[in-house]
Symmetry: C2
Subunit: 496 residues, 2 copies
């Protein structure tokens, strides 16, 4: 793409200005329609240091109402200081419906730079490329419009610009050691950029623009943007088709075949609880020291005992090192973004434990059954979730998922008890009863979920919870075992 790039020819300045003006006025007209159709737009601007990404963005936004856009300039954190998955700064920055976001360099620059610095291994580079493709596809399938631009200048041009910037005290800070390094290694970068673009040209293609002629680049970028939006406005909002990717799945039993009779006697419960909690407390220290991120996911029937189970796990943990995220219905600003956004924003830092009390699996349970998303959406979600979870475990996270299971009679007994105990009444709502009426539909959805999303890296565990104490001990044992295994090795550093 870059190697055989042909520079733009000079164009008549007045007619360029004329074109830009006209494109701006089309964009002004589009912003309100974007809002009405609730379309989110992500513009990724990559390119050489000093190619003029900042000025280009400035021109692109100059006529847009500030209520409709945001500019984000993610910082590239050295690999050794990364506390989150590499996609985190971008995944948490995606726009709301009806808004535009301009990313001033993104996943390409961070991946390529770290590859060339040997901060990440070849294998990790490949995993990142795969994650990038998944991420872009998921956004597109969720109805996002994505424009990817690479702003190109040749080595001589870059030299002139870096020199010009260095000449004034007020702009010399813009020239970073990284920029100078890139300039020295221009050829290497050229090759690496080209490779990255080839590997990530599908499903969202790249557009290389000539940065050496600023006005032409502005016109070309505006044109790409306005035409992309125009096309989208004429159609229904895109909803991606479901498809199966090959994920190695663990065999899970059907819920109806699960034996719910296991119990634990009180003495053993107390003894084991103490032992496991002590062990967990020790492990938490090691996890912190080895910087392993831990994600525990709880799903289960209403009144199955999730809360009590979580409390027994949380109790021995250092409160400074864990968070519990209760997941309720999405808030408006969450609903207005791709469905995984509100989980991306809640991920733990390395060395921290986070417990999700309900999770992203709401997509394939309540959202499926209540029609909160389209059929295509929830059918696509199994794959999207598997990808998301692989991105998390690629990062090095321990990821465990618990289905806290009871039978229908036990639920009825617990509902009735809640109803009849004044201080527990708040725990039972009409909605719980309505959900109970849908037990068979939920059972189908849960079975589907367990079959399609139990992967080796992020397995499901069915926790028999007719006896809550048994359930707590079982969950604790699984957690302790998994953490012991993880603590045996060093945190999977990206350079492996």
């Amino acid at each position: 793409m870059l190697k055989d790039f042909e520079k733009n020819k000079p164009e008549d300045k007045d007619s360029l200005n004329e074109e830009i003006k006209e494109l701006h006025s089309r964009l002004i007209g589009q912003q309100q329609l974007l809002r009405e159709k609730k379309l989110p737009v992500l513009i990724l601007l990559e390119g050489w240091a000093a190619a003029g990404k900042g000025s280009l963005i400035k021109e692109l936004i100059s006529e847009i109402d500030p209520r409709f856009y945001n500019v984000v300039s993610p910082v590239i954190v050295p690999e050794s200081e990364m506390r989150y998955p590499f996609l985190y700064p971008y995944a948490t920055a995606i726009p709301e419906n009806g808004k535009l976001i301009f990313l001033d360099s993104g996943w390409m620059e961070s991946t390529v730079r770290k590859e060339l610095r040997l901060e990440i291994s070849k294998e990790e580079y490949k995993r990142r490329v795969r994650s990038v493709n998944e991420f872009e596809r998921q956004l597109r399938d969720g109805g996002y419009l994505i424009l990817k631009i690479f702003l190109h200048i040749d080595k001589d041009e870059q030299f002139d610009r870096l020199e010009a910037l260095s000449e004034s005290a007020d702009t010399e800070w813009r020239v970073t050691p990284d920029d100078l390094w890139q300039h020295r290694e221009y050829k290497k970068f050229l090759k690496a950029y080209d490779e990255f673009m080839e590997e990530t040209d599908d499903p969202i293609r790249w557009h290389v623009l000539d940065g050496s002629r600023r006005k032409t680049a502005v016109r070309d970028a505006l044109k790409l943007l306005v035409e992309m939006i125009d096309k989208a406005l004429k159609k229904e909002r895109y909803v991606g088709e479901p498809f199966d990717e090959e994920f190695p799945l663990l065999k899970m039993p059907r819920l109806k075949d699960v034996d719910l009779s296991p119990v634990i006697d009180d003495d053993e419960y107390k003894k084991e609880l103490k032992r496991l909690q002590n062990r967990l407390s020790e492990l938490h220290n090691i996890i912190y020291r080895k910087k392993i991120p831990v994600i525990l996911c709880y799903e289960g029937w209403d009144a199955a005992g999730k809360g009590g189970n979580i409390r027994r796990v949380a109790y021995p943990l250092d409160p400074r090192g864990f968070d519990v995220h209760p997941i309720a219905s999405p808030l408006p600003h969450e609903l207005n973004r791709q469905f995984l956004w509100r989980f991306w924003t809640r991920l733990p830092r390395t060395g921290h434990i986070c417990i999700f009390d309900r999770t992203w699996y709401g997509r394939v349970m309540v959202e499926r059954l209540e029609g909160f998303c389209t059929e295509k959406d929830w059918k696509r979600a199994y794959n999207e979730i598997n990808e998301f979870e692989r991105q998390l475990t690629d990062w090095g996270a321990v990821l465990l998922k618990f289905w806290i299971h009871i039978d229908s009679d036990t639920q009825l007994a617990r509902f009735t008890e809640r109803q009849n105990t004044p201080e527990k009444q708040w725990k039972i709502t009409d909605e719980d009863w309505r959900n109970r009426d849908k037990w068979p539909q939920y059972e189908t959805a849960i079975d589907d979920m367990l079959q399609k999303t139990s992967t080796e890296n992020a397995p499901w565990f069915i926790i028999e919870s007719n006896d809550k104490k048994y359930a707590r001990i079982k969950a604790l044992r699984i957690i302790v075992k998994a953490l012991e295994k993880a603590c045996e090795k060093q945190f999977k550093h990206s350079f492996e």
Copy 2:
């Protein structure tokens, strides 16, 4: 408080356990009532290194439903790396209505440590103490329950604990160089803690607990918490009384006396716009380099031309270095917190410019007129806002506030034009017409606001905008002048 502290006597273990159990069960009962009454609770835990803050929090939360609380452990950033005001980590962490937050050390530790390290001057220390008192009072006045605990151990006890931690590989990382420094300088810290607590004991008092007896400390802390909540549950939610603090105010004209006739001719407009935008672009570089935070506030009548004015200011800025925050009605999670929270969370980093398109002044305009808050709330807000703004300028921010002004006839003409121009119709809503009917009430509210909140550090500027072009040039001139002044000196470092 600490100097003459008397240790607890040993107590009977069984009866302590009994008391703790009973207090826990009261707390369990309270959590639902807190939610119903929408009361937010903030528990600040300060104390010596190794005094057991973490374990104490662990015990306090052990029986609370994870949906109701959060634990926050703010990191103390060295003064030279601070990108936000010193209260930022705490002000952005305040709980929602109905929830509890446990702060594992907070504004006391960060202020005292920096004072002793000579990272901040005596004057800055005093400013911070004042800000802390303002901050706590504002939360209390907004209905927050606040419990401040200091966990005390003597020097020998601290020695034993630090030694015990250092003995195991899995806990030795918990002993930081700062902890050892504190231990060496125990006496100095004792004095400084005492002073800080004396200076911040009103309006929210401190409770010193004996950290050397863990169970007793748990019981005492639980008791304080449960009794504080109990007391609050029995009463109406507290709403603070308005009061006037002495802020040196600038004399502002009444709106009706503002001469709206100024205009600018087209040639001068173009010339000046270009000149000022070029200058602003240069200044942005200096601001970035000198790490000066800039906050520009826009308020004004509907259709006064705020948007166009903001766009002319934003245009010459580097999009990587500024943000525009359009402020609409608060979202549910914003409405559930003290009213300044959604502005604290949007503050610019040092060296960045942020433009608020509508601001915290909504409190004394729309919220006042529409009854979205109580009379006490908006009357108190003038003072709260002056304090907030002083905290920002104490930090070193340039803070300018524009009232974009037009007369009623001009508004009518612009409304009508919007109504009659298809691509502008979205800009005009029924609500705009309803607000227009309340012009006289708004005028009173705006006059009050201008009289009561134009301070030397954060002045209001009335921008005559019957001629939008005139308004843009006037705002740009004010901004350029203020930034030039700010750029002349170094960023007010805290040690001055």
